[in-house]
Amino acid sequence: MHRLYILLLLVVTFFSCERQDAEAMIDLINVVRDDATIPAYIYGNTGSKVFLIILHGGPGGSGLEYRGGAFTESMEQDYAVVYTDQRGQGMSQGNLNPEDFTPENLAADVHALALSLRYKYGEDIRLFLFGHSWGGTLGSTVMVNPEYAVQYRGWIEVAGAHDMPMTFLGGLTKMDTIAGEQIAAGNNVSYWEGIRESVSQIEPTIESNDQGILTQNMLAFKAEQKLTDQGDINAPSVEYLFDALNNIYFINNNITSFFSGNYTNGIFFENGLTNFSVTDQLKNIETPSLLLWGKYDMVVSDTLGYSALEEIGAEDKALHIFEESGHSPFVNEPALFTEIVIDFIERLK
């Protein structure tokens, strides 16, 4: 019988272990809306009354993937940072209807989260919305809706794909341009000639071209890695890589997150995400907007940044291009990125 006691002791010991990151988390709340249970992990300085909601990329990513490195470390010192898993992604749950996977419905989820934060922390909290890549698609969909946008002091779009056709076509052009520049400079000529050749074989049309869109996206990430190897794009810090791996493998249940995210990504594209665009509604955005893009971003090119700068209705708007960054400038140039974001928030909080 003593063996059974030993076994029980081991189980109890295992349950009593807590990971270090749990100490830093302030709150985990779940927003339950339209059959989905959507978690939001809140870290940092809630006493500041300033909350930065981070919308992850994908579709198919997760909120805590963004918690790492110098950027979020600095943000959490000054503000509360809200990392949320979107509907059907990360550790969100629910028995959901595939037809509900649209940017508009997820924008309503984000609005529900904003209201829930006010409910919990008080009406006087000041909210800022931050969207990266697909999170920029979603955040833009939130901000073009005046009923939702009124909740926020500022909108920070980072390499946001708020216009899917422009994302694809702009990405092709950007890859071709950068490849041409690299060939002219004599850098890895055969590699960049290969990229040019691959780009030329992709049909530049949206309709019935899912494979072309997927190929462009994969090529863009590969080409950015090449630029990182060449030293044109700053490599992620070891600290960031450690944090990212820790969050992906030891904070989230990565198997659940992987399968959920991939499945949901497919549903979004079946629901017509390829043609989605809010460019013609950007004039509705009256909220101060900060647009942040990497010069070498071939996944969501700065064409979208310049377009958003022109189209957004707010007078208080600015675009910053990071000279040594690709698709994720908060990873490539975290110090400068953090400085610009903090300046923006401090001015408007």
């Binding site: 076994l7 779940n30 059907g88 550790m91 609005h111 209201l115």
Partner: protein, 171 residues
């Protein structure tokens, strides 16, 4: 001393892990339904291979999102090799409830109601395979097995979940 006695109920308690970050506790019972082969002569009351019915209840803990409660029922094929070592393979179904706390339920008009707990229910199929080692008296043992269960409808689709079981057996 081969195999398991006919009509002997085997029960076990042990570790259930839905990946390494979701530790849990499992309780299971297993009953031999059919002995497909028995021991020779004086060991004829012992099954060397058999089909069993197993019922299990498990609870796991995800420190950052929810608690999962599972019930699964399955038919196993169980085969002894030598005196102590054996394999077990099974197929059945699973019911899972995930419970989350600190919930804000938001309705169509964006009115908020705070709720302590919300439960999401899923069903699915379950397959598993593993090996066990009994002690020389066949009255204690340990079972190691991996299982896959496929939950639906989860996030508008199915969700494959892998788990590891380490169970202390008593007969």
């Amino acid at each position: 001393m081969l195999g398991q006695k006919k009509s002997s109920l085997e029960y076990g308690i042990g570790y259930f892990g839905n990946t390494w970050i979701n530790p849990g506790l499992e309780f299971s019972m297993e009953y031999p339904l059919i002995n497909t082969r028995t021991g020779k002569s004086k060991y004829s009351d012992l099954g060397e291979s058999m089909i069993t019915l197993q019922g299990s209840a498990a609870a796991y803990w995800d420190p950052f999102s929810h608690v999962g409660l599972l019930n699964y029922y399955q038919l196993n094929f169980k085969q002894y090799f030598g005196k102590r070592l054996g394999i077990q393979m099974g197929f059945g179904f699973v019911l899972q409830s995930n419970v989350t706390g600190d919930n804000y339920v938001v309705d169509e008009d964006f009115q908020i109601e705070e709720q302590g707990f919300v439960r999401n229910n899923y069903g699915g199929i379950h397959i598993s395979g593993g090996f066990f080692v009994d002690n020389k008296y066949n009255n204690r043992g340990v079972l190691n097995k991996m299982s896959l269960y496929v939950l639906a409808p989860h996030n508008a689709g199915i969700l494959p979940v892998f788990s590891y079981h380490f169970i202390y057996l008593m007969k």
